[in-house]
């Protein structure tokens, strides 16, 4: 059987609980009311930005577990990733919680790739409780991919603001009364030749369009089947390109479409094109969207997290930016 990256989960694994943590600037986000924990300090009380980054992820994991009355030793797997070289913040958080750990790198699409793999482990019967998540921290990521923030360099209107946030989801076999994972699609790495790391939205839009169209045609679905189709962090520039691209492929109504990055900071101009980062999609999907599914406002959603698969070295050498988008379909029965 050739699946071409399409996944279906007959047992419909559930997202039993979620945990979301965020930094001080994220209080400007209209979504912050649904975050579980907010730090008053960008470094989360730790000595370095990267240690603060690890703390964000660790607390999100612990919050998600505590909501299902579990401790780390009850969990079978931890699937997590971030954007720092070799994913050290996720590695350190995994050391602290001590859950068997699979580090994942799908850049900002890790929020969804981790859920899909956790759902596969659950579907196979190998996992009764898996924690999936991703995180980002503004200062650590901006320093690595652009400039140290202390340098105070100018950012253009197409540039995005890396969020300081982490999101984790506790994934279990099917349970009643919580959102469950029905289908998914792993994305293809798409490279349209973009080279500007200050315009990631435009680079990622083709990957999101490709994954959406493959998901819809592969699973015989149409865009109107969903209460919400939410991309990860395309932001203002990338989201409008994305809508144009899927518009050319027959999708006409965009009422149920939105982008987590574009809406993250409520469109405030100081955040330029909007939010980005591995914590961007994770913290919205696992707070706002999860809550609205629990309240049955949304019954079927399609989350398409987008990621730019560049390294600081690759773009400095003038290479293009390959991008990816993974999709997961959640339903509330």
């Amino acid at each position: 059987m050739v699946m071409k990256g399409l996944l279906t989960f007959p047992s419909t694994p559930s997202i039993a609980a979620t945990g979301v943590t965020a930094g001080p600037l994220e209080k400007k986000s209209p979504f912050h009311v649904n975050f579980d924990k907010m730090f008053d300090d960008e470094r989360c009380g730790m000595k370095t930005n990267e240690q603060g980054h690890a703390k964000l992820m660790e607390d999100a994991i612990m919050i998600a577990l505590s909501k299902v009355d579990k401790v780390p030793s009850d969990a079978d797997f931890l699937l997590a990733g971030d954007l720092v070289n070799q994913m050290t913040p996720s590695n350190f958080s995994a050391t602290t919680v001590g859950i068997p750990y699979i580090g994942l790198f799908s850049a900002c699409a890790t929020s969804v790739s981790s859920i899909l793999l956790a759902a596969l482990l659950t579907e196979s019967g190998m996992s009764k409780l898996a924690v999936a998540g991703s995180s980002s921290q503004h200062n650590a990521i901006e320093r690595q991919f652009r400039y140290p923030i202390e340098y105070g360099t100018q950012k253009g209107d197409t540039s995005q603001w890396t969020v300081t946030a982490a999101g984790a989801a506790a994934i279990t076999p099917y349970q009643e009364g919580v959102p469950c994972i029905e289908r998914g699609t792993f994305g293809k790495a798409v490279d349209m030749g973009m080279t500007d790391p200050l315009n990631m939205g435009a680079a990622m839009a083709p990957a999101a369009a490709d994954t959406l169209m493959r998901h819809l045609s592969g699973h015989n679905a149409s865009a109107s089947d969903y209460d919400l189709i939410m991309t990860g962090d395309l932001s203002k520039v990338g989201f409008s390109i994305f809508k144009k691209m899927v518009g050319n492929q027959g999708i006409k109504d965009f009422q149920n479409f939105s982008d987590a990055g574009e809406e993250y900071y409520g469109g405030l101009p100081e955040f330029k094109a909007g939010a980005s980062g591995a914590g961007c999609s994770a913290s919205i999907y696992f707070s706002e969207i999860y809550k609205k599914m629990m309240e049955k406002e949304y019954k079927r959603v399609l989350l398409i997290a987008t990621g730019a698969l560049l390294s600081p070295l690759s773009y400095q050498q003038g290479d293009t930016i390959p991008c990816i988008a993974h999709a997961v379909e959640l339903t509330m029965k």
């Binding site: 600037l25 960008e42 503004h138 140290p148 923030i149 202390e150 105070g152 360099t153």
Partner: protein, 120 residues
Amino acid sequence: MFSIFITSFIVGGLICVIGQLMFDVAKMTPAHTLCTLVVAGSILDGFGLYEPLIDFAGTGATIPITSFGNALTHGALAEAEKHGLIGVLTGMFEVTSSGISAAILFGFIASFIFKPKGNI
């Protein structure tokens, strides 16, 4: 007397516009922009064009980073006349040493007093 302020403002501003266009249109990095402007000032002085600009615009031409390139060439040429080839090397730093020392000293003092911040 008042007109020197206006010419200074316009010339200084135009040099900055060039720098901004290098950022926004040519997509150059801050380091590349800085070096290019220094080299441009240096070359202009080599052709004897930067001193007339200073006479015309005053601080409008001396404050932007292009003036540093001008000073490098200027010092090198002046010392070369006196001491030959060795003068090219010593001359560069003779004129610019005050600027370099000031940058180091004031940067050092500022780092004691202020903590760098990046967030809005």
